[in-house]
């Protein structure tokens, strides 16, 4: 069985030059950094907050904070990893504001492995995403990932959707590598379990179509 192929990310060879220029006051260079990463920051923010307006605010605030703190950026990590860290913190802060009744943090939901043990083993249709229109599929995927604890979906989105390495994800979230791996495994297994009812092979059960 094949492995997951790493996501192809844009080359960052000139990223440092842009950061240096932006630090020196070149607004055009900073604008290029915004252009390069605004889509990623928006996706991450919306995955975490599950709210469009909050995601828009996170994009603005994250880039503003990055701009204001560029002089303090010591280049010990990639600019993008540093930016993701800022964006994740902004997104979690907004999530906490909307859910004051419960503490939202990356430390929550540390349960036993039982919470992710597969309960149902059903094979999927050969091309399950083709059972639905693009709109239906997005709704299913959005609804499904929304059900994950923030700490799990944050690791999943950075690692599997945005293609950060395990080490970069750990850096961005200030988690240990074993903690990233543990949450990633549980996030993947929980998503798989939740998608079963939509994607299972029709011959084997009560799939939608």
């Amino acid at each position: 069985m094949g492995t997951i192929q790493p996501k192809v990310v844009e080359p960052v060879s000139d990223e440092l030059a842009l950061v240096h220029a932006a630090k020196a006051g070149d607004m055009g260079a900073f604008e290029e950094l915004v252009r390069r990463y605004d889509r990623n920051v928006f996706r991450i923010a919306q995955h975490i907050t599950q709210n469009r307006e909050d995601a828009e605010d996170v994009v603005q605030d994250a880039f503003l904070k990055a701009y204001q703190n560029l002089p303090n950026f010591q280049e010990q990590s990639k600019f993008y990893t540093w930016l993701v860290r800022i964006a994740v913190n902004e997104a979690l802060m907004r999530l906490r504001r909307r859910r004051p009744e419960r503490m939202v943090s990356l430390d929550e939901d540390i349960k036993t492995e039982e919470d992710s043990m597969p309960r149902e083993v059903a094979d999927w249709a050969p091309n399950p995403e083709q059972l639905y229109t693009q709109g239906e599929l997005r709704e299913i995927l959005g609804k499904t990932i929304q059900g994950l604890p923030p700490s799990f979906r944050t690791v999943f989105v950075l690692r599997d959707v945005e293609g950060l390495s395990t080490e970069e994800t750990a850096d961005a979230l200030d988690l240990s590598i074993p903690a990233v791996k543990s949450r990633l495994l549980r996030a993947r297994l929980q998503l798989r379990e939740r998608l079963n009812k939509y994607f299972r092979n029709r011959a084997g059960g009560d799939g939608k179509k």
Binding site: M27, F42, A55, E56, Q68, D160, D174, P178, L185, L195
Partner: protein
């Protein structure tokens, strides 16, 4: 190797970050365990579907509006600073205990 052992290694297996011997043991397990084969395959598809889904893409008009707002804010806030910790430097108090997090074995 038990199914539980297999599941613990699933993430490293899918990410191809393990030694050849462990990989061979996992693939041997997959040869005869249909349940683990299905779980492995559908987990891989889960990742691929999310990766390819273009969920939460930023529409062009909103992108333009956000970029203008960002640049305007940067201009108007020039000179103000709010320190942001770099990933490899010391963690803020709020985040300090996260490194003690250990995986479930």
């Amino acid at each position: 190797m038990t199914c539980s052992d297999f599941l613990k290694e699933l993430t490293d297996y899918l990410d191809d970050s393990m030694d050849a011997q462990t990989r061979a043991e996992l693939e041997d397990h997959l040869q005869w365990c249909h349940n683990c084969y299905v779980i492995c395959n559908t987990t891989k598809r889960t990742i691929e579907i999310y990766r390819d889904s273009q969920l939460y893409e930023l529409p062009d008009d909103l992108r333009t509006r956000l970029r203008s707002a960002i640049l305007a804010k940067c201009h108007s806030h020039e000179g103000e600073e709010h320190p942001v910790t770099e990933p490899s430097s010391a963690a803020s108090p709020k985040l300090a205990d996260r490194r003690s997090d250990t995986p479930t074995k």
